[in-house]
Symmetry: C2
């Protein structure tokens, strides 16, 4: 939680009551104003146009990988003044939400967000091995709503018994049963905090870069060598299509350290030799694990 | 097209008449038997259980990036005997398919596969800038079917005028208008050919690797150095969650060359020093551009 004299406005990828909303609330507390936006692009725009002090968007899940819409927004708008001012790690706990009348073996269809369905693929295969239909919704909150309105909206549907994958809170006080979907794998989502402001210094920092390589053999190896030389620990590399030419890529790199540190400055100067384009997306305090 | 004495069975990610089907037909011709499978996992299984001689799955799109289901199948089943025996590049041409009665400005909703909707995001924003609802389907073929059945299945829906993004062929002979969605960006999908067989030698080859790095600073730089030293051109690097521990990654690398060439053998031996796990997924002829 961040203490400020004036009330902060936090734009986040909506709708309300999703994991992004909860992650934002955990960081910015109860004394901020929250504005949900329909798309990742709208969250960036809210920060760019100063309608919000901070934006919160998901960037990566520990099972499903990168949230490509968020990465691509940095590629598509290379001149945007938005910087990464922080990150939030948030544990994801999925529940199977169903009317008490629907037993596990009677369920014919499961509503949820595509990411949640993907994250629970293993559990669904083990526990609902009979043929079920997966129905995609825009959020896990919408999925739980869909369970309640299913019979009314689709009276002639052959699918009578439906469930949702969602958060436990969404089921409360609505005559729905929620059982946790147990999976031994660590399921966390990492969110970026976007801002035009410089973040305060923390104890440990992380820096995020976006760059395009010159087209020559060994370019990626040359790009990474300065980090090894300066003993800087890369925590992440992600390639994304440049969208200019097929099979050309831009790269996102995260490493431990702050852009103001001398060894980081030296590494960035050396990196510039192998890149066509290089942008520091931000140096910010590392999320506590 | 491949000539064989006996008829080949080709499993592909269905349903029928999708780009994967067309890409498979272009490579394996009219004298093969085609079997559509509902998921990427089922295509791999068909090859593993020898129900098919070859499998065809999408692996990457030039605008939207990696098809993560396909990459993750290699990670989730590291002991699978399936190898990459080839690749197919296929241009993607999207059409807006609508009943002749629906004008551009009257369209309220657009059905399509999430990848197609993502690839056409820019066009949709420019040409259907009025608020439209995006409705996801399992394939572009299903999206066109949905336009025809929309009024019958959802008689009370407030969305009267709907369209689909799909292939031109799907609209033919069905009283639907199809106009190409013009986008200046190169839109191609790359498909992998899966097999238990060794591919024939071609003129130019590509090799695909999957590996996990030892946890030490400079590990990724050390892993790439041997390729630079041997003047081997990396064409692609992709990181994916290991799914064992949050924020640990496995890497996919493609490079020019065949695993039987001496410089490739030397690079692979050196790479082994920085990896916990290393698997050659296949050496195969490069797709003609």
């Amino acid at each position: 939680m961040v203490a400020h004299a004036t009330m902060l406005t936090i734009a986040y990828l909506g709708p309300e009551h999703t994991n992004t909303h909860l992650a934002a609330q955990r960081r910015f507390g109860t004394r901020s104003r929250y504005a949900h936006e329909p798309t990742v692009d709208d969250v960036f725009s809210a920060v760019e146009r100063r309608r919000a002090d901070y934006g919160v968007v998901p960037v990566e899940n520990s099972l499903e990988g990168a949230v490509t819409h968020t990465l691509d927004r940095f590629i598509d708008f290379k001149d945007s003044p938005v910087r990464i001012a922080g990150e939030i790690e948030f544990p994801i706990r999925h529940y199977l939400v169903r009317p008490p009348s629907a037993t596990l073996s009677s369920i014919q269809a499961v509503y949820s967000h595509p990411q949640a369905l993907a994250q629970c693929r293993r559990w669904l295969r083990a526990h609902l091995a009979h043929k079920i239909v997966l129905l995609e919704t825009n959020s896990t909150a919408e999925a739980v709503d869909a369970v309640l309105s299913h019979g009314r909206l689709h009276p002639t549907s052959p699918l009578k018994h439906v469930a949702a994958i969602g958060r436990e809170e969404a089921a409360r006080g609505r005559h729905l049963a929620a059982v946790p979907i147990a999976d031994d794998r660590e399921n966390k989502t990492r969110f970026l905090i976007l801002s035009l402001r410089q973040p305060r210094r923390g104890r440990r920092h992380k820096t995020s870069l976006l760059f395009a390589l010159k087209d020559r053999p060994g370019a990626l190896s040359d790009a990474l060598t300065p980090f090894k030389r300066e003993r800087i620990n890369l925590t992440k590399i992600e390639s994304r299509p440049s969208k200019k030419k097929a099979w050309e890529y831009d790269f996102f790199i995260d490493f431990a350290g702050h852009e103001s540190e001398p060894q980081v400055k030296r590494a960035l100067r050396a990196l510039q030799q192998s890149t066509l384009y290089l942008r520091v997306l931000g140096s910010y305090p590392t999320a506590k694990a």
